[in-house]
């Protein structure tokens, strides 16, 4: 499992998140729309996962471990 919720209610994305993680991430965010997503350990994310982040625009704790996510995806979530 690369999506997990910490005791403090923070959603962590760890490693490379495959498409299946999108559904799990969406469920967590739906349950707690104010939750912060910590993607500092995230090394990659499938398009579906990124779509969830772009649609819900949660508070992000970064920067992510992957340069592509940091440079191209993070601005799309923050500014779009």
């Amino acid at each position: 499992m690369t999506v997990r919720v910490t005791a403090a209610g923070c959603i962590e994305l760890i490693g490379t998140c495959p498409s299946a993680d999108a559904e799990a991430l969406l469920q967590h965010l739906f349950a707690d729309p104010a939750a912060t997503v910590d993607w500092r350990e995230c090394r990659g994310a499938h398009t579906a996962v990124v779509q969830v982040l772009m649609a819900v625009k949660p508070k992000l704790l970064g920067p992510p471990a992957n340069a592509g996510l940091r440079d191209w995806v993070a601005p799309a979530i923050t500014f779009s």
């Binding site: 498409s19 999108a22 969406l26 739906f30 398009t47 579906a48 996962v49 779509q51 995806v73």
Partner: protein, 719 residues
Amino acid sequence: MNEFLQQFVIESREIADAASDGLLALEHSPRDAERLDEVFRAFHTLKGGAAIVEFPVMESAMHAAEEVLTEAREGRQPLTSAHIGQCLSHLDRVSAWLDSIERSGELPRDGGKPPDQLIVQAGELPAAPWVADIVKTQGAVAARALNAVRLVPATDSLYHGEDPLARMTSLPGLLALELSAREPWAAPDTLDPFRCNLILTALSAAAAAQLHVHLQGHSGDCEVVAVTTGGVSDAGPLPTLVLTVIEAQQALLGAGSPQSFSGRVGSAGAVAANALRSCGLAQPSEQISRATEQSLLALSIQPLSEALALLLTEEPPAEMAAAPDHGRAPELGARTFRVDAEQVDVLVRLAGELTVVNNAIGHLAKLARAGDPSLADLLKDRHGTLEHLVDELRRSVLRMRVRPLRTVLQRFPRLVREMSANLGKSVDLVIEGDQTEADKTIVEMLFEPLLHLVRNAIDHGVESASERIAAGKTPAACLRIAAQRRADQVLIEVSDDGAGIDVSRVRAVAVTRGLIAQEQVLTLTEPEALDLIFAPGFSTAARVTEISGRGVGMDAVRRAVEKAGGHVSVASAAGLGTAVKLSLPFSVMMTHVMTVEAGGQMFGLPLEAIIETTRVPQAAISRVGAAPVVVLRNRALPVIDLASALGAEPSADDEGATLVVATANGECGAFQVDRIVERLDLILKPLEGLLTGTPGIMGTTLLGDGRVLLVLDIAEMLQ
């Protein structure tokens, strides 16, 4: 340029033209496999040629086009309009490269570098809006980009296991990537994370071919477009001489009285534009001409003065080099063209015979020194032979200059496609008689007037599809360019089946623009009123559009056509369409003139404009106000004293006046001259360099005694 490169340019041009024709035909019948093969082979040959001359950038561009065509050839993907557009823009680049090679005699400066270091030269292609957007937001990064990529994955692509983001982040040469939503995002409770709602745009430093390979097989729409970064220009600082000329014009503009305004602006603009053109800077020159027109219209020196100031700053301003301009008349005058070997043989034979006559004349000169009495007869005999040979030489050279109109007309399918797409109108272009031939000069001058007529037809003549359907017409308009040869004339008609010209509006506009008085306009017949659209300063377009609102009206068309010795007329029927007819001489080489003497100088008057010559007593010339008038055959004609009109001493003949009555554009006048000399057939040289466009003068030629003969432009003299 070495011969090898020269051959490459000639051949590539021909192949690129054929490929362009083929692509346009494919647009109508995308399933025509034979045509598709032909186009593919053309690109393949271009690629091969580029490889031989070691021009890797062109090679990879041609490869990219080949890739697109291969997909279609192997039936993996239907050939869409977007694909054709892509291939056409590759051909545009080829054409720009070939121009550059012809100009400089070597491969484009960036040609030898690997593609990923190349910045595509500015001003080649009109970029799609999304390209402009990403170039703008990415700023400095964009300067390194060679291509822009846009991927709009199919909405179900994620269900099929695709990962568009991964595909784009691993793009070769990736410089920047932007993600955006195609539609607003759904609320979290209804969001389907597997329904792809993204648009991914990227900038890459890799060649288009590589990008196509990388993106191959991805679902949805994918576009790769060459990036044109506005700031880069290959125009260096202007030559010092030209700078000096421009500075002088700038100074001239600022000085002088308000009365001389139009003269000052007109001449400063013309001189600066000619100076730029004379050193091959066609685009800045055009820019100056446009600014001159703006200045004249706005009655302010500001537009021209600003344009000149821009030129004087060391770096040529970006927009000068970058403005993508669809309709810009490209340098048409091909410097090389192929000639039938038989025609060359004829010339060789003639050269031989002329040498014989030349030797014979040398012999005659010796006889003359010896005072031989039979000299006159011999001279007359040799002169006869020489005359015959020169005549034959002239005819065969003329024959060599003849080109089919196809060379100009073939550019229109492409332009019409772009213009109608820009204006959201659907237009079918029909070209008839493109095999009609005319002298090279005529063929080359035709492009600009025709372009203007076509623009006008699409922009103002053709209605929108809904208006057409309401009027009971087919949704697609028909635009026809038909050419035919009739005796010594070439007739070209540009007609459309659009809304036609509203004559009452033409009358009203002509009055508001001050071209004609209210009471006068009502006396005009319908054709006469229609003819007002050719008057300088007339434009019926209520709005100025990018396509036709460039400050050049139909008067520019008439001017260009008449300059080449032709006529233009318009016919229109409300609701049915408009037809503009151009009639041009087959050749402009020979001009028949009457030479006259005025103020001690010789001038030529074109014979076609002369009605009669007569001599009247001085008393017959009366004065109406300040203007001298003569009554001939019950008609009052203005008398123009040629000597004083041209700034020489007026003639002092107390007994009578020799008059040459001439007509042009329906205006008639009598030119007073000192003496009528003779009739001459001559080859007119157009004015060159700084004198280009001097009003009142059509061209020059050398007389037998070495003097220069100025041939006057009757139409301009009578204005």
